[in-house]
Symmetry: C2
Subunit: 239 residues, 2 copies
Amino acid sequence: MKKPRPDLSAQIAASIRDAIVEGRLIVDERLPSEAELSEQFDVSRPTVREALKRLGAQSLIRTQRGATGGAFVNHLRYEDAYAQHVTTSTLLLSMNDVSFDTAAEARFALEAACVPLACARRTPDHLATMRAECHRQAQPGLSDEGFCASDVAFHRALVDGAANPVLSYQLAGAVEAMQPLMNMITFSARSRGVIVGLHGRIADALEARDAVAADVALSELAAYTRELAQSVFAERARR
Amino acid sequence: MKKPRPDLSAQIAASIRDAIVEGRLIVDERLPSEAELSEQFDVSRPTVREALKRLGAQSLIRTQRGATGGAFVNHLRYEDAYAQHVTTSTLLLSMNDVSFDTAAEARFALEAACVPLACARRTPDHLATMRAECHRQAQPGLSDEGFCASDVAFHRALVDGAANPVLSYQLAGAVEAMQPLMNMITFSARSRGVIVGLHGRIADALEARDAVAADVALSELAAYTRELAQSVFAERARR
DNA sequence: GTTTTTTCATTTGTCAGACATTTAAAAGTC
DNA sequence: GACTTTTAAATGTCTGACAAATGAAAAAAC
């Protein structure tokens, strides 16, 4: 029942993190040097460094060497947060025995939310990406991993079509973390054909800005994916 | 154009992180001791420690002191990832000048995706939470911050009603990160009444498992929220 | 006076060694 | 056999030092 007192470096990291989140430290502001911090918190420099590394791992600060160097509050960009979000999401799925169905349900539900927006805002660029991925998916020599990677790229283009960075960031985890689960499935030439066909229909609907048609095609894709996964897992269980 | 070679501690952290993500290190497996790692990577112990702190900050490992202690691959749980996801999402919004409209659009689109699932799966617990938050929101003495916090809790209950942990995790960022933006709005007694009324209608629809009615009420809430924000910001701009 | 070069102080990155603290297993005691 | 003590191993922390990078000031060259 007793709370294990967190490490000093964790305490210091939390203290600085709070200052950033609450706005007491603003973007590009320079933190005190390690020597000054170690005096302020009354700890040694290595301990301060461990705290700073923690914050660096979360992209909250960046460090620079040299005379005018130091630790600076980082301007957190989508790309920085993106990689971490995907890593965490992937590990969450693999470590918590999330079923294929659960993950697929989440992904398709979230994508469905993007469809109306994507129909309204998709640019020729988004369509071109989707068409290119469809073309790649139809290549006969493509490996299963390559097919799944292309599948992820296609769905990312759909999400990005909504032109809402908040949406893109939040959904990145769900979309990308699906890939390892998809990789567990081996796609026959026939099932690949069905999927590419549905991808084509989704792209067509987005081009025509027809949200209803896109939603129907996406639902069919969801159903077919679930079906495919069930038969693959059933086959595997029999052996 | 030249790539600044990353720090040794960053290299080591990346190396271990890859091993975890790729499954070469499995959950609860013990990493070599700091002394052994420093020998393996041919660096000093403080450098190894900085690398381990980086991984600890991402909840990828946990450390334990004592004879059988050491660093262990952590079983990443939703709760661990949750706090980090919310912190990152909040900072992303505040640092990238995301407009209220963009964030609200994302939140309502994602919640709409949960509505059909929540209608099918919501438990009495979810309904009770939503009713309780509605009741709190109707209290006259509630501060603006308290109102917003309750608003977030209400929407979280809606999302959790979908009974899909992947969905809950991914949406947590969008829902919780909205709060600081909502806090910028001061709610009149009248606007509070409208919002509570719409919340009530959403809860009613979920209780009746009526997805269409829930979707309509949610859409109205989205429109009203946007309207409210616009008038608040317009008023502020005038001064 | 202006430009270029050199020097230099500051700061992070890394290392070595040491001691403190925690923890569980091993050894000892009854 | 059950309990207590010892001990070894591991992380947590500190001190002190040097290396490397970097911008600014000082010096030199034109």
